[in-house]
Every structure is written in structure tokens, then in C-alpha cells.
Subunit: 273 residues, 2 copies
């Protein structure tokens, strides 16, 4: 298995500087092989796909078993069209046969409070927003691992946060529910095969005992080179990572509406104290 | 494989009311089999375990490839002691040979901005806190799937947010970094075998095309019964889910410090606009 480990790590890190476990398995292969798929065939999904993916999602951990998340499965072409328009006009939202919108959902526990005539004082805090966001993310990532094990492909759509009120209206969301991200699901098209994207050298994100940025500059310079070479191989504009980071974050305009999140969330019933 | 599917779904849902895919596999088995492990043997972890888990974590999706997360691997017994004291005194933090603290990390991109002498105007927004939180959660869940595939067990520790400034001090975190949650890792002890916990009926969390709470009351009543029966079988105080939700959320005191998150995050350099 060591041979697979080395090739998977090489794809993920360029030149890996880590020594993996001797024990290796197919699950590790699959996890390291992840790539975001942005082109889908028109093959329909087999019956039971959605139910199976959501069973995997519900099997993820959830803080205090509160299960403060929900998901909307969208298959209607017109609705996918409108959601795509709300989320930066990404064509693959229209193309994928299935589009999940993952929700942080405090409304269900809120309804339980109402029914027992009890005020839930702990709810209107930023902590609750984080609970729902984390619950939704853990669940979604389990669904993603499940769908990749079935030969399906996927990409997360953070742009669903560009206009959370618009999305809430489209999906009929009650107060205290917000869309955390979308997720396209379908069979990957061979026309535009997705590649494993190299990540930061492990020493840049993994710290032992205490956080240390010593040696970070060298690790980032190495990564700028790896990622530039990757883009060049793929026939894309070859820019280093540092350059991308700066161009993505230098201006509020790149938030495409997400600079309004606090006000929108408050109007949608979140306390955020 | 259909036989496995049915038994896994029965454990996860009590009486499952869904029809899964005909196609089934070992990865789905593993995902559905997840249980939180809160008792560990003193077997040490094989060499390369941490590096392998973090390679899986880095293989998860990250918004715009910004990789705004980091992780601290804690193995020192005294540090685990102190972290346990900061996080509700949970004994398994001390017992597990490895404790990961997963971080939302805006400091790395911030350092890149400084080095290129560019103000990153898009950074001091709630959106950036969500980016880092979601990135960390997707990465952590991949690590969890990886470690379970290796026969290891784990439990998330949300109580790490009870005192994020205390944790930041213990781990030497720079500004614009906060601990999202902890994660214990080790070999599960046979003394206290962990069980698969039933979740809400799927129809309570999965919506088609639009959100609908119709039929929710019946689904919740069913779950109250299932979960009560589960606790009874386990010899624990048998309360229904609705009761647990209310008792967990009715008072701010159950936030154990997390009601201070906004003020703490601001002192720690987050903009939260």
C-alpha cells in the first residue's frame, strides 16, 4: 500500500515532506483523491441516492445531539436556474442533476421551545450560529465522502451566501434558518476531468503543542511555486498562491454581498449576541 | 450488500422509513457506523498517524483554496490536562493519547497581506469567521473519517469554545485565530463500548425543493420515543429528545462562557462586521 500512499501524497503536496503511516487503506486513497467537479454528465442519479447521502450526513457528529441543521434537495431545473442566478451564475449549478442547499437550522429547536412554552435563552447568540454552521458542515462533508465512494462528483458553492435572503425566499426558509453553502452532485463529465489540487505544505497548517509561524515564509514560497506549476500544467494563468490570496481579499467588492451577512442574519431572526 | 444497508439504517434511525441505494459499499458502512468514543486504551498511535490524518484533512474542500484553517496536535500530558480544565473538565481529553485543536486561522493570509503591503479589506467581516469555521469543520471531518478507517475512535469537543482566550493563551495563538473545536483521538476502550446513536427521522431534516415543517410534529414524537428507548437500553436516564433540547437551551448558563464569544473574538482581532 505504501506505493499508493506516496503517489497520493505527491499529487496532494507536490513534493511531500511527510512520512505517512505504514498502514494504508482504500478510504485514505479516496479522501486524498478528492477533487472539486465542475462539469457533469446528464446521467440521472439512481433511486435512493439522496436518501443514502443524507443517512451518511446524519451519521456525522452533532453538538449535544441538537441536530441544528437541515438540507434542501433541489432537482427542479427552473429552481436550479434561479439559485444559480443568486449564487454568482455558476453554470454547474444548472448542469448538476442535484443541488443540495445545506442549512444551519435553529427553527426546529425553536418550535420545540414554543410547543413547551419555554423561552430558549441560549439561542440568540453567535454561538448558536456557529453550532448550526458546524453541524451543517460536518454533515455535508460526510455526504461528500459518501457520494465520492459511489463514483459521483461534487463541488461546494459558498456563493450561496452572496444573497442569503434571496435564497431563503426561493426555498421558503422560516426565520432562524440560513443557507451555509450549496453542493452540486452528479456524475463527473470526462470532457473536463477534475484534477487533485496541491495544498499548502503540511508544516504550514500543522502545529505541534503550540502554534508556530517559524519557517512559514519558506513553506509559502515553496507552495507559490508548486501551485504556479500546477496551473501552468493545466493551461491556466499561472499565479502563485500568495498573489491569489491578496487578489481575493484586498477588496470588499470580492465579497459579492457577503459583507451584508450580519444585517441579513439579524433580519432573518438570528440573535448574534 | 442490501442486508448491511438495512441493519446500518436500523441502528441509525430506529425504524428507517427510507429506501437506500441498491449500490452499497464499505465506505457507507463506515460512515453510518460512526459513534463518538469517550474512553480510550493507552495504546500509543503508530508513527505517521498525525501526518496521515492531516493529509486527509488538507484534501477536503476549502473556500477559494484560501485554506484559512490550522490545527494544533497536542500530546503532552500536562497540556492536555490544562486544556481539559479549560473545556469543562472532560476526562477523555486527558485520556486520549492525541488531542487536536482545530483552528479558524485568518492570521496566515493576514501575514501575506502584510508582506505585500496590501490591506485585506475583505477580512474583518463575519463572512471571514464563517470561512475559517467551515474550512476547519470540513478538514476535521475528513480527519475523522480517516481515523475511523484506521480503527481509531474520536469525539469532538465543542467545549473548547467555553474559553477561547484561555485556549489561545495555552496554545500561543496569534491574533485572528480561534479554536473552533477539539477532537480526542485514540484506540477505543472495550470497557465502555460506544453505541450508534439514533438520529431524527430523515423526513425531519431533508426537504425537497422547498423547506416544509409539515409532518414535523409526528416525526419529532417518533424520535422522542426512539431516543428514550435507546437511553433505556443503555441504562441511562430515559428522556426524550424534545426534553433534552429544552433543558440544553433554556438558560444562558448552559453556554458555559460561550455567551462571551463576540467580545472575545473582537479582542482576538476578528472584525465581525
Amino acid at each position: 500500500m505504501a506505493a499508493t500512499a506516496q503517489s497520493k501524497l505527491a499529487a496532494r503536496y507536490g513534493a511531500p515532506d511527510i512520512t505517512p503511516l505504514k498502514q494504508w487503506n482504500d478510504t485514505l486513497d479516496q479522501l486524498l483523491d478528492h477533487r472539486s467537479v465542475r462539469a457533469f454528465t446528464d446521467l440521472p442519479l439512481p433511486e435512493g441516492t439522496i436518501e443514502t447521502l443524507i443517512a451518511a450526513a446524519q451519521s456525522a457528529s452533532t453538538s449535544s445531539n441538537l441536530q441544528v441543521w437541515s438540507v434542501v434537495a433541489v432537482q427542479d431545473a427552473d429552481r436550479k436556474d434561479r439559485l444559480s442566478a443568486l449564487a454568482g451564475n455558476q453554470a454547474y449549478i444548472r448542469q448538476a442533476p442535484l443541488f443540495f442547499v445545506w442549512l444551519a437550522d435553529l427553527s426546529r429547536v425553536s418550535r420545540i421551545g414554543e410547543q413547551s412554552d419555554t423561552e430558549l435563552e441560549a439561542l440568540p447568540y453567535l454561538e448558536s450560529l456557529l453550532l448550526g454552521t458546524i453541524d451543517a458542515a460536518l454533515a455535508a462533508q460526510n455526504a461528500l465522502v459518501a457520494l465520492e465512494s459511489l463514483g459521483l462528483g461534487s463541488v461546494y458553492i459558498g456563493a450561496i451566501r452572496n444573497d442569503i435572503e434571496g435564497v431563503a425566499k426561493e426555498l421558503g426558509l422560516p426565520p432562524q434558518v440560513y443557507p451555509v453553502f450549496g453542493m452540486c452532485v452528479g456524475y463527473p463529465s470526462d470532457d473536463r476531468p477534475a484534477k487533485v489540487k496541491p495544498r499548502l505544505p503540511q508544516r504550514a497548517v500543522l502545529h505541534h503543542e503550540i502554534y508556530s509561524a517559524t519557517g512559514e515564509a519558506a513553506a509559502l514560497a515553496e507552495y507559490d511555486e508548486h501551485l504556479g506549476a500546477f496551473y501552468q500544467r493545466e493551461g491556466m494563468k499561472a499565479s502563485g498562491w500568495s498573489e491569489q490570496v491578496v487578489s481575493r481579499l484586498r477588496s470588499v467588492s470580492s465579497l459579492h454581498g457577503r459583507e451584508q451577512l450580519v444585517e441579513e442574519l439579524k433580519r432573518m431572526g438570528f440573535g448574534l449576541r
